[in-house]
Amino acid sequence: MIELKLPASEETIRSLNLGDEVRISGTMITARDAAHKYLIEEDPEFIRPYLENSLIYHCGPVVKQTDGEWSFVAAGPTTSIREEPYEGTIIRNYQVRGIIGKGGMADGTLQAMHDYGAVYLHAIGGLASLLAESVKQVKDVFMLEEFGVPEAMWVIEVEDFPAVVTMDSHQQSLHTQIKAKSGEVANRLIHPVA
């Protein structure tokens, strides 16, 4: 088990390898479909400090507000591949050190992770209650009115957030490896040799 503290240096991130189990602590920000489009098209300056040397979490939470304070009720990862067209550019432009999500991403992101020093951290899909418990504080929220609750950018403080490195900065992807193996089995099942 590796403790990953945020903000993280490029050196720390490059020391992570495929299959490493990590527990993440520190401040990060959620972003999904609308936010990724916004980061590319509007290039908002104010958001830079929240992204630099930190992580983007692909998550659309269930939240509640008590006496003006927000908290996360359920906070599992959403499917990352939808952000593939944007992510490489965002990693480069905002010096993001990693992505937390589920399902992994494709070659463009893997290349950017290699070139600029970032990793893909796979969270457990549907682990919403357990992950919400590791979100200790909601520090801020941006674009809530414009994007709605799931799509807004939530700045959160996490403690011991569990994840597995499934894409590293050395151009390795667990998703590619598993897909190659299962593809061979599927091929044998679909086209049995008579």
Partner: protein, 295 residues
């Protein structure tokens, strides 16, 4: 024969149904996940992931919080006795949905595809989705499944024959499409999944038949012996793919395969695959003689 419905009482009962669906995974699913964890080798990500899922299930039940933040498309299948107004039932379900959203049991999940606006209360065209069927029994039964978007996105539909799969218009052809669909999904549908399959129908009823299989329990047996055999064969073979929980590799790729069929026109042969994530949120309520039973 007709039963009398108290609207406000029924709204409370549907609210309770939504609460159970969102926060309390059914016992047959928990049993299947526990058995899957025990099958995986110690120290593997597969076993660790399944262990965390079980912790999460307990936590959600204790705290009355959603098992997964994507509370999904809310799919209702309602069986009602003669004389009951489906308009009233719709109104009651919509009311309960709004309350459950206000209380954070459901995430606001209904987005207008034209304006991009989230309705904020889970109401919208075809939201929640309700399917009504009158039956001859004197009880009202409401089944609910919450199906997340991630697993819906990896669901698929095939048209047989399919030359690339060498799949013809028979159950062996059906088998090949399902292997292909689950292999294509990898971990993206939040594996281990439950695979609902609809054979035949037109494009719409084929998918509906697949979705309806998700109202069955994992440990039931298909009443059609040919389909029962196909379900067993697929369950065994899909778990040999090695995709594993979350796609991290492992012995557990699916928790169950459930297949139904609908008559087709001679020209068409569709196979629809409704992939359901491990967070198989399925509950029902039955109302009879003023008494309510949740399952």
């Amino acid at each position: 024969m007709a039963i009398h419905l108290e609207e406000s009482a029924l709204a409370d009962q549907v609210y309770e149904l939504i609460t159970r669906a969102s926060t309390d995974l059914p016992p047959d699913v928990v049993t299947a996940i526990r058995a899957a964890r025990d099958r995986e080798d110690p120290g593997t990500p597969a076993r660790n992931v399944l262990g965390m899922l079980l912790q999460n299930i307990d936590l959600a039940r204790e705290n009355h919080t959603p098992i997964c933040q994507d509370t999904g498309t809310n799919i209702y299948h309602v069986h009602y006795p003669g004389g009951v107004s489906t308009l009233t039932l719709k109104k009651v379900i919509r009311e309960a949905t709004v309350r459950a959203t206000e209380d954070s049991l459901l995430r606001p999940n209904a987005v207008d595809p034209v304006s991009g606006k989230n309705s904020g209360n889970n109401l919208g065209t075809e939201n929640p989705f309700m399917y009504f069927e009158e039956w001859e029994e004197d009880r009202l039964r409401i089944d609910l499944v919450l199906k997340g978007g991630g697993c819906e996105n990896v669901s698929a539909q095939y048209k047989l024959p399919d030359s690339s799969l060498e799949a013809g218009r028979d159950l062996n052809g059906v088998y090949k499409t399902i292997v292909d669909a689950v292999n294509n999904a990898q971990g993206l549908g939040c594996a281990p999944g439950i695979i609902g399959v609809g054979i035949g129908g037109d494009r719409a009823t084929s998918h509906l038949t697949a979705k309806k299989q998700l109202f069955r329990k994992l440990d039931d047996t298909n009443s059609d012996p040919d389909l029962a055999e196909l379900e067993d064969r697929l369950y065994r073979d899909l778990n040999s793919l090695g995709i594993g929980p979350m796609g991290f590799g492992g012995k557990t790729t699916v928790l169950g395969v459930k297949i139904g069929a609908a008559h087709r026109v001679p020209a068409s042969y569709f196979v629809s695959v409704a992939y359901m994530c491990w967070a198989y949120r399925r509950h029902s309520l039955t109302l009879q003689n003023g008494e309510v039973i949740y399952d």
